[in-house]
Amino acid sequence: MSSTTLNNVPIAVPGTPDKARWERAVPVFAFPVVTSFFFVLLAFALLAVLLTAYREVVGLGPVSGMNDKFGWGIWKTFNVVVLTAWGSGAFAVGIAAWVFRRKRLFPLMRMALLTSFLAYACGLCLLGVDVGRPWNFYWVLFPWNWNVHSPMAEVAICMSVYASIPLFLENIPPVLERLWYFDARLRPGVERAERGLHKLYPFIIALAYLLPGMHQSSLGALMLLAGQRVHPLWQTPFLPLLYLGAACFMSFGCVAGTTMLCCLVWKRAMDMEILDEAARITAWLIFGWTALRLLDILFRGALPTAFHFDRFAGIFWLETFLTGYGCRLLFRSLKNHKLRTMFMGYTISSVGGMLYRFSPTTLAYMPGPKAEYFPSLIELLVAIGFVTVGLAAFLLMVKLFAILPAPAQDWRDMARYFEARRPYISWTKYFNFGFFGDTEPISPDILSDKVSHKDSD
């Protein structure tokens, strides 16, 4: 029994066996990669690259709004601190799936890994643009020069190691899979690589949970050293834990929300059982996080400052309202199974979380009287450009590789689609997914909607 909602996307109602069940990651096959929107993204990215070159020549002062009082601009405080929280999906969803055995979340893992990798890669690239003396970064290779108790060292080292080793390796399977389908001659090599990767997996995955746990909390610890310069509503010994918690619920929102959005845009079926599971976890995470935050503020005695009529109190209540209302919408969506409610819940709570991650470094940071910071146009364009690079790469990846979850029927549809276009494919040698080889022959019973049971019979 399936019902339909917006855009006639079929959704599966929990508890009933259904065709909308997510069983397999399937590329977004019938949509062109190169669209006008893709060109717009690339244009922004190109502009950002040009402006980056300009920044390297003239220095940070002329291109940004940063100054002696506000040493950090949005490149660090938004693109790194906030967007990597969105990109913690590989950590949060992964821990829920692999450590706490929420097996239903497995279909979301490839989305989580991809969004994480892109968020981290873009953030780290922009970090390289933001720091003044990036050529000295080679010190990261010499552990005896690390200041191990510095949160900054931990963030810098952990993040670059995490993005370049475990996260990168975790994103390889879809690529290997595509190679496997691309040409039968590649298969022995691909299978050897897969076996090697699988042997390493426990160690890689464990590292992929340890490192983000460390650096996402250290991002909070960064502002501990700023002491009294961060407003008491935010400055707390629990800052690392709260930053980590915010990363968890924001990344759930990012992974599930992005998946929902993709399914709407590309007319994919939605598995409400999985989405409900994610929404339930997110809602409880937000609930626990908000409770921890409010209790901490209460016990530190900072609550009266929340009732001063100033900017800080306003931001605090806005954050609390956004996360709280998002949490409420998510709980409500568990009952009414409305995609709109769930999506709004994810969006609003994520915006609230983003504001929270942004505040201690910028909005609630008080370096002294008359200190002002507002990002310059160039700064904004570069920040946007480094997001659009990630978006463009995401669109490319989702269309070329099996990332987005779908019912198994979509895989068969894809087979049929490329079977029909085989002459075109053989001419371009571009997208050879239609070649299904020995274990997956294009047989009539696969092309029909029946599932073949040749092995089990």
Partner: protein
């Protein structure tokens, strides 16, 4: 779920027994404080004593500082006067004036690096580009190690380090107590020219005695009869005397414990000897290895059933 959690905990415990034992032995037997919390004391800490009640605001020290550090005078205001608004990349030392509207006592203040015993800038510096000089205790900057992250400008409670906003090879500038002059046996530039002796240079212990002598000889002259920097922020090598509250001069009341020791306490405990992360890693590996095996098995079962290649 209950079983899973218990398994998680038991697995972590199993994997971590040796590590936990090692950690317990190393942290409890022996000293109570962690290695990182023992602030190494310089061999011969030297510093400045600035008496704001003596300063006449002539700014001779500013010019002397420029000369000593070979930085150009900051005449960016009108092209004629050396009149920086605050510390900046050309200005490592500045005289400011606190003059309240209501006519209560006003005061000049000399601002430069406080040379903390436990500097927040060095505690946060990722590759130890900012470091405490072993002998003089001056907080110095090493351009070979600095990545230009500007974390020091965020953490310094006195807002001292400055980043160069122009050019392709930006540097961090801050008062380094004229370490190059100290090496030649000369005093820091600012102390060599002060006409009234408002700022003097010497070993910190001597300066502290001198400050206390002044307080004793002039009861009621100084704010709270207190030397700022004696214990503030864990002790600083530059000491201040003032008639007006120190906060008005831009010296925050931090308390006797240094910023790094209070704020990074738990951070340092958690990461001490990297034992806890290692423990967690071992636990995660065992749990994931088990779950992965089950997952692979299920995926291959599904492959046999549907005829579609397993996606792992």
């Amino acid at each position: 779920m209950a079983i899973t959690r218990r398994e998680l905990i038991t697995n972590i415990a199993k994997a971590g027994v040796p590590a936990a034992v090692a950690m317990t032995i190393t942290t409890t037997v022996g000293t109570q404080t962690l290695q990182a919390e023992e602030v190494p004391v310089p061999n011969a800490p030297v510093g400045l004593l600035y008496d704001a009640s003596l300063c006449i605001g002539c700014k001779a020290c500013e010019a002397a500082c420029n000369e000593a550090n070979n930085t150009p005078p900051d005449t960016r205001g009108d092209g004629l006067h050396q009149a920086p608004i605050d510390l900046n990349v050309y200005t490592r030392n500045i005289i400011k004036l606190y003059k309240p509207e209501d006519g209560s006592p006003s005061s000049f203040v000399k601002r430069q690096c406080m040379q903390c015993f436990d500097p927040a800038c060095a505690a946060g510096c990722p590759f130890e580009a900012l470091y405490k000089d072993e002998d003089t205790g001056a907080v110095r900057w090493d351009g070979v190690k600095c990545i230009g992250c500007r974390y020091c400008t965020i953490t310094c409670p006195y807002s001292v380090p400055r980043f160069q906003w122009l050019g392709i090879n930006p540097v961090i500038t801050k008062c380094e107590l004229c370490s190059h002059r100290l090496a030649k046996g000369l005093k820091p530039g600012c102390t060599s020219v002060c006409p009234v002796g408002a700022v003097i240079f010497g070993p910190r212990t001597v300066l502290l005695l001198e400050a206390k002598r002044r307080i004793k000889n002039n009861p009621g002259r100084y704010y709270q009869d207190r030397v700022y920097g004696e214990t503030d922020n864990g002790g600083t090598q530059c000491l201040y005397l003032s008639k007006v509250p120190f906060v008005k001069l831009g010296l925050p009341e931090i308390g006797p414990e240094s910023v790094p020791s209070t704020t990074l306490r738990w951070q340092r405990r958690i990461y001490s000897y990297f034992a806890l992360p290692a423990l967690l890693y071992a636990g995660l590996v065992t749990v994931i290895r088990k779950n992965l095996k089950g997952h692979e098995h299920e995926a291959h079962e599904l492959e046999k059933e549907t005829g579609l290649r397993a996606q792992l």
